[in-house]
């Protein structure tokens, strides 16, 4: 064997190790779309329903916020469903292009790594809403999304590790400066997702 063959063999081994342990078809385009949905959702919540909590605790029955809170919740759930749907469809299309199955062992790895922090965060957010701790909803959603991304980076594109850290930091800052909660949420779920999506799209999808 020549040197070139040895190098080729090593690179083949590395590629097989990566392909069989990581889901690398995560779509950057879907990150951009998710960011756009988040911006639209936040705009509707703020402009139409006047949602911009400036303290942690709200008495949900006495304030105007309580009436509109259900509407904001609907907006949030719509954003989540649309974002997840887009990620699944576009990442599936990416995997299909590479001749891989959408539901493979690596997909299962990614889904479990993300689902645990996301479900825990989602349930905590429901509790916060029920207890009237509205000001903490945005920070907590940022932190748990960040943890999910950080965790997922072990079984997917490694760059999303840093994306997770950014979201966690934004979440922690907004848990102290509650009045900037919605702004930080727009920054994290909206702009950071879009910037990351663009970066990943140009790096991996072209």
């Amino acid at each position: 064997m020549k040197e070139k063959d040895y190098i080729k063999e090593i690179s083949e081994i590395r590629s097989m190790m990566e392909r069989s342990s990581k889901f690398l078809s995560l779509s950057g385009l879907s990150g951009i779309m998710a960011g756009v949905y988040a911006l639209i959702g936040a705009f509707i919540a703020y402009k139409i329903f006047g949602f911009n909590p400036d303290s942690i605790i709200y008495n949900s029955e006495s304030t105007e916020l309580g009436v509109n809170l259900i509407n904001v919740l609907y907006v949030a759930i719509s954003v989540l469903v649309m974002a997840l749907g887009t990620v699944v469809i576009l990442s599936g299309r990416n995997a299909g292009k590479k001749g891989e199955k959408i539901w493979s062992p690596t997909t299962r790895l990614l889904v479990t790594n993300m689902a645990v922090p996301l479900v825990a965060g989602g349930l905590l957010i429901l509790v916060l809403i029920l207890k009237g701790l509205i000001g903490l909803v945005a920070p907590v959603s940022l932190i748990f999304y960040g943890v999910a991304m950080f965790n997922a980076s072990r079984v997917s594109i490694k760059e999303i590790r840093f994306l997770g850290i950014i979201q966690i930091v934004l979440g922690l800052i907004s848990s102290y400066f509650v009045e900037y909660g919605l702004l930080m949420w727009v920054l994290g779920f909206g702009f950071v997702n879009i910037i990351y999506g663009i970066y990943m799209h140009y790096k991996y999808e072209r």
Binding site: M1, E3, I10, E12, M17, S20
Partner: protein, 101 residues
Amino acid sequence: MKISIDGLHKAFESRIRLGIMSALSVNDALDFNSLKEYLGVTDGNLATHIKALEKEEFIGVEKSFIGKKPNTKYFMTKEGRRAFKSHLEKLEKFIKSQKSE
């Protein structure tokens, strides 16, 4: 042990066998279909190579049932891990020695 002229184990001469070992080195266990998907080979072809690696005792088989469906999973044995590691080290050494020449 079957060793070829350059000191590399014969079991790793085939791209497919090397692929199976690479995939199993980073997974606790993989089933037949996953391996087939990663390698892009036919059932018969994959089965032959798996048997060869089993005979070397580089990989082991774990049979179980999911409901009523039989589920066969393959994993790397200690012996296999040792051989795979030494194969990688040899490749590295060859590249280094040829670069310094």
